[in-house]
Symmetry: D2
């Protein structure tokens, strides 16, 4: 991955106002994989002090989108099609991180899985897992529009 | 639904800091159904000016949770188990509203569907649809813990 | 929908050996909607006498695919991308039917919802509900490949 | 895992008529993990010669259910709550196998992921992946009903 690509992906990651508002940060991005981080704050929580399921879905969806974007060709972009997230354990701690990996990069659809982990007192727990389907839009290698 | 129940559900709806931060408002709640509203602001958007998929997932999950909560017995509460959301159309407009309906209220699991609509210039578009699975936790009618 | 289209869709519906083996029958197809039927037999069941979740997923996926196919243009075809099904109630009875409706027909992706109903002694129960995402493949109106 | 447990799980795996009809075989089962196999036959296919998406969903759901069942206590049993499957690549070959792993074993809900692989000419391809949510029903350790 060239420096130009990485810089573009980093700009893409925080281009969304909602993501900046959430405070979701890009940790690393390599072809097909993206890691993000969230410093847990009061505004992320539901009433019992756990990170809200909506925050976890947003982390998974966005990080998966970035992982998918890392495999695009010039002129293409990613649009989220759907995502499904299972909430496994209560997410309470100091921070969370998300690891998203593309499991199928297609001409028109890319699928990624994303794991959200919560860090509390030095211990990590897998708190949610998602499967994310993304549409690849734009110019294809053959020159036709997809 | 008694006034006491309705008041409790209204308090429950905005008890989560994340939901207050998002600005998601309760519009109405009746047994098995909940409607919510979001005045679209810059902080809800992704880079193209559409409401972020993470916001839409949060709306669906939370409104479905409230719809499920409207059917609880004293001592019970709702925990989100999983949700899946399809993003159907770009969500650009002045406001959004979510309608969530319970399609199965079980002893230990409740399932709801949630539709997110976007309002722009007086026109409404269905922008996303979700199926949400929620766990019912707490005292059951038989007295045992579930 | 022309007679030719309807005939083609009917042939498409039972073109899959698995569907013929299952005994899933096409009941009706109109633009964007498809209804199918299954006479429940011993081979459809799990060990408690209920229709197996795998049969219900197959009904939803296939009927949704037909509903999506009813909106195709010449040269296009449907490929299943993903589906999610919630199992709501035990499915025990004489027959089942599935109603699938397209909720978004896109240039490259179509989304349908499918409801599976079980008929027992004259009564109908909603036993499962699915959201199905399908890819539209082939020639588009503009002539380019998608 | 005792021999008695393993024998019971093996009987459970093929107790469902639908699973016997499909020809899905248990390969191995250890606490939290289950592997199954399908010799591909004409009756499993859709019209293009690929294994039907409904067959793949059934494999994932059933194998995940067995993986979940391997962690049950006496008196408990598993009921499928929902599953979501992404179809990644065309499944064409001589056989398929499914590997399901429990990622969260809860008191009332268990979540597993299942990967379906297709074997063709000695090569293996990941053809679909699922997240499966299962309800744990029956006597709990505390003696109460769940």
């Amino acid at each position: 991955m060239s420096d130009i690509d990485r810089a573009a992906l980093e700009r893409f990651f925080t281009a969304a106002p909602f993501i900046r508002e959430l405070g979701l940060e890009l940790v690393s991005i390599t072809p097909g994989e993206c890691r993000s981080r969230l410093e847990i704050a009061a505004r992320h929580l539901q009433q019992d002090g756990f990170v809200h399921a909506g925050v976890q879905g947003a982390m998974a969806d966005h990080t998966a989108g970035a992982a998918a974007a890392s495999l695009l060709r010039p002129g293409q972009h990613i649009l989220g099609a759907e995502y499904k997230i299972n909430l496994l354990r209560a997410a309470r701690g100091e921070s969370m991180y998300c690891v998203a990996r593309v499991i199928k990069a297609g001409r028109t659809l890319t699928v990624a899985e994303a794991e959200n982990w919560c860090v509390a007192g030095g211990e990590e727990k897998l708190v949610s897992k998602a499967l994310v389907t993304l549409a690849v839009v734009g110019e294809t290698l053959t020159g036709g529009r997809s």
